[in-house]
């Protein structure tokens, strides 16, 4: 089974601060990590490979620093790593991102399965997995919490729902987005770290993936972030004092104008 796992480098949520002036996320000095849901996707890919054979290729769209999460994935059992990186990709929303990732994956050749985390903890859209499936014209199942079988070229799955789970089957090639209940990610192994250290990471730019420049990055995005702000707290607080009867009287007094 040849598996592609899409991973993203995100700021560590334990360390997120907003710049009070610009209301944008302060990225300086904030540690970057692999999106936590993607760690589960990598783990599931490696487990499927260990069970059914094949390879796991991790792919990430991002700046050159995103190599760090690709190497982390390799140290945890992935075989190959691909960085999709170009200045032209900057500012992409999920529409432009799925276009770019789709083009890159088409370049990688044949695959049986694509795994994604259910969402990234920075954007929180949960759109890239399903969007990518649409771009590649393959079926997808989101919120997968368990893979129960692999028969007749299809995967049997449990999809997490609010009130339980659905039993679903998906023919391959297909795409899954996974929730954290699916597994417990392993820590890197020593041999994996050694391999990751020496691995040369394949890099693809806009030209390599034959992308239409108009569809990339900010110009290719159908949504724009106009403003990011923390909602202002407008409530007023007052402590009432005195006996219970006095406090009730004061409260009625305060509420009366609004009745």
């Amino acid at each position: 089974m040849n598996i592609i796992v899409c991973i993203k480098q995100v700021p560590d949520a334990k360390d997120v601060r907003l710049d009070p002036k610009t209301n944008t996320m302060a990225r300086e000095g904030v540690e970057s990590i692999m999106n936590p849901f993607d760690r589960h996707a990598v783990e599931e890919g490696v487990r499927l490979k260990e069970k059914h054979g094949g390879t796991v290729t991790v792919i990430s769209m991002g700046p050159p620093q995103a190599e760090a999460v690709l190497r982390e994935a390799v140290s945890c059992g992935a075989d190959e790593a691909v960085l999709v990186s170009d200045r032209a990709f900057a500012g992409a929303d999920t529409w432009a991102t799925t276009y770019t990732l789709g083009k890159a994956i088409e370049k990688l050749g044949q695959f049986d399965l694509i795994l994604c985390g259910k969402q990234a903890i920075d954007g929180d859209t949960a759109q890239v997995g399903p969007g990518l499936a649409k771009r590649l014209n393959i079926p997808y199942v989101s919120y997968v919490r368990k893979i129960t079988g692999f028969e007749n070229g299809a995967l049997q799955l449990h999809r997490l729902m609010d009130d339980g789970y659905d039993e679903v089957e998906i023919p391959l090639p297909g795409l899954l987005t996974v929730v954290k209940e699916i597994n417990e990610p392993r820590v890197p192994s020593l041999k994996g770290k050694m391999k990751a250290k020496g691995l040369s990471i394949k890099s693809l730019n806009a030209e390599d993936i034959d992308a239409d420049v108009e569809s990339l990055g900010l110009p290719g995005s159908t949504t724009q972030v106009v403003k990011v702000f923390a909602p202002e707290f407008k409530g007023e607080r007052a402590m009432l004092e005195g006996t219970v009867d006095e406090q009730v009287a004061q409260l009625i007094n305060k509420l009366e104008p609004y009745l």
Binding site: R186, V187, P188, S189, L190, K193, M194, K197
Partner: protein
Amino acid sequence: MDYFLTEEQQMIVDIARQITDEKIIPQRAELDEKEEFATDILNDIAQADLYGLYIPEEYGGFGGGCFEIVLALEQFGRGCVAIATSFAASALGAYPILLSGSEEMKQKYMPDVASGKKRAAFALTEANAGSDASGIQTTAVLDGDEWVLNGTKQWITNAGEAQIYSVVAITDKSKGARGASMFVVEDTDPGFSCGPKEKKMGIRASATCELIFKDCRIPKDRLIGRQGLGFIIVMKTLDLSRPGIAVLGVGLGQAALDESVTYAKQRVQFGKPIISFQAIQHMLADMAIQLEASRALVYAAAKHIAEHPKDMSKASSMCKVFATDMAMKVTTDAVQVLAGYGYMREYPVEKMMRDAKILQIYEGTNQIQRNVIGQELNKEYT
């Protein structure tokens, strides 16, 4: 402080730290409370390739030495001394084979120990033989092509959880210490069994039981090295393993200091965080000084003994005494800093204090270590 680790050594630290933070620390209190062996966590350690750190590459290991395993053990000790002990005990059981076993024996056992597929254990102590190893009563008698073992070993770490046991038994009573030999016993050997799990003060998530040999028959080639070499192998093994115990003290001391400082910054009394009081500051400062001095000594000793120098026993004993006495003191002080909260099982430091005590006792009491150091000094100055 920066100890100038190589890139590979830093990798070992990073992996061990991640296992400690993500797997050990979240589970340690429950495992301690239930006195449950941490099989899953030890499997995580195995899958991260850390069981083979000190085993040569030709037997499937990483090819590191004492210092490499010390680096991993420091992190595990910071998380839970019980789990770290279970991991370390496998190395203790494997060292006799690595040090004195035949090539066939190493080929047979080491790859499985290196991969963590099988765990090892070391069996020396008996009811009447602890610090005084000459009191050993377990015997091994050659009967045709088999050794027949009889006797009982006591307080054996990993008993019941290990598949490979390095066992000391008397093969010639008339020769005293020179009449002891060492054998490999497998858990499936006929006549071998384990007693019930001991109830301990600390390191409760580790397995400690008796080993019972009742006409236990093993093939002739399970003798490690030659007949009569038992005590020499034991001494060499312990020289190599003691820095591993010492560094558990360092890891544990670090954990106790971390908890103490974090708490002292948060706890407010008399309108101020208690870290602003000199009484607390001085306690924390003393903890930090002792801790860093221990770390420096243990690292130095672990690197020094890699070359098997003449004063190996002294270096190994010195770091064991210093770092484990430190751990007892620092964990006791941590309970004092956290005071009422520290005494509660809801907070981690009472477990640290309980766990620290064993470090002064096992792999040679700290009194015996001082004997070793004293005797070495006596020899050095003649």
